[in-house]
């Protein structure tokens, strides 16, 4: 479809009722047609990319992860294929290891008394800093 094929209206002409209605209908149909095509296209390649990503993730998960030791994590030398997903147990283990290391160096005995999950009252998955940043950026008036 090519809109230049539509009969042109003289710029200086006063339009008839039929011409006005045809411009409105043509305009709305063409705008929707173009944008619906874009919806399909973007949805299509979005699905393709999501599927590819899922396949890649599955392949990565099948590879046996190397053994993680507290010493190599503390020194900052992360092993290849290190899975940095939100694993709370691992984070607690790493923090504990750092504190144990600090105890050994200082000669003092540090002890972790409790580990509690922090629940944000506004939104469970958003930290206080992120929530405040979001509030400031979305409150322009």
């Amino acid at each position: 479809m090519h809109t230049d094929l539509i009969a042109k209206i003289a710029p200086t002409a006063n339009m008839s009722g039929e011409q006005i209605v045809s411009v409105v209908i043509t305009g709305l149909v063409v705008v929707f047609l173009v944008l619906v095509l874009l919806v399909w296209f973007v949805q299509g390649f979005g699905k393709t990319f999501t599927n590819n990503k899922n396949k890649t993730n599955t392949t990565t998960k099948n590879v046996t992860p190397p053994v993680k030791t507290s010493s190599n994590l503390i020194s900052g030398s992360l092993p290849q294929n290190f899975d940095d997903s939100n694993d709370n147990d691992e984070i607690v283990a790493v923090i504990s290891a750092v504190i144990a290391n600090m105890s050994a160096q200082d000669g003092k005995n540090y002890q972790i008394t409790s580990v509690k999950p922090h629940i944000n009252p506004l939104r469970k998955s958003r930290s206080a800093w992120a929530a405040e940043g979001l509030r400031q950026n979305t409150n322009p008036f």
Binding site: H2, T3, M15, G27, F41
Partner: protein, 418 residues
Amino acid sequence: MNEIFQMFCDTIKEIWQTSGMYALFSDGGWKNLIMILVSFVFMYLAIAKQFEPLLLLPIAFGMFLTNLPMINLADAMYHPELFDYVYEYAADGSVVDHYINYGRILKEGGLLDILYLGVKLGLYPPLIFLGIGTMTDFSPLIANPKSFLLGAAAQGGIFFTFIGAAVLGFSAAESGAIAIIGGADGPTAIYVSTKLLAGGDFKISTGTIALAAYTYMALVPVIQPPIMKLLTTEKERKIKMATLRNVSKTEKIIFPIAVTLIVALIVPSAAPLVGMLMLGNIIKESGVCARLVDTAQNSLMNIITIFLGVSVGATTRADKILNPEFAKVIALGVFAFGIGTASGVLFGKIMCKTSGGKVNPLIGSAGVSAVPMAARVSQKVGSQSDPTNFLLMHAMGPNVAGVIGSAVAAGVLLSIIG
């Protein structure tokens, strides 16, 4: 002694009669005075209220400069008569060709005439779009492509205003130029009105359209909320939308190429605007043209904004603006914005129903373009009903879709009328 006194009086009289003050209070001078006062109001809105100051202030000062009365036309900075078409006639009296004598403009034109060439030749709006492209993140639209539909629905403001303009007695080109105000996109409005209002004796000018478009764009936070609240229920306004998925870099690079291809193949007249928008976006998303991105979104954008603003302001000469048609354009402009907002919200309601309540209809109003102000209005109205509801990123999808939609609508109008 008497002769010296007479000479003194004659000189003073001549100085007075060639001064701007004399022109201001002679025939028609009051119109210039009104436009100068209007320019002061715009300067106030831009400086004190910060309503679109980057564009409104240069426009207001251009308006001020062009309405300073000059007796000697050679001193004027803008000469609209230089942009009149030169007609070539055949032996039988029929018009063979018509064109603007650009050579004469370069020879005799003032500063604002030279700057206005960028508007007349349709250069500034695509260059502004290039800069906008480097500043736009299409991720929300790629993550939720259905937002395109809201961007399309909000273009109803353009086409329904077309009916209103035609009913009020405007010609096809004038109706198209007025209707595009509903796109809520300044560069698109200037681009379309420049193209449509060329080569004919029209009652309105590009300056009139630009003035109405930018005034209403600045007033988006005032115009939209009452319409949005009127058309939605409290329950609908409280709908929280699911978090958008992450978009990969490859998707972001393919997107501008695909949009340009699809739009240019179907509506070639929209290619200059959409093409430049997407060029700006791809140089940003590629990540390998940092210097070009920096220039396009800062230096180039700022220079063009100054040139565009001041030269569009210069077209608002009192003798061209102050007429009954201007009042009609202003009335149709607010109608266009209102209808565009309502169309977007109503389509949002349809999507809300069809998706089982997963879409907040408030994001539909952002489909009118006016990036990012319209999206911020969606966020603001949503947060008034529920302070923990963050709609901004969801509204950015229809918002940037509206830019593409209004460029497509502009292409349709240019294709049909001509």
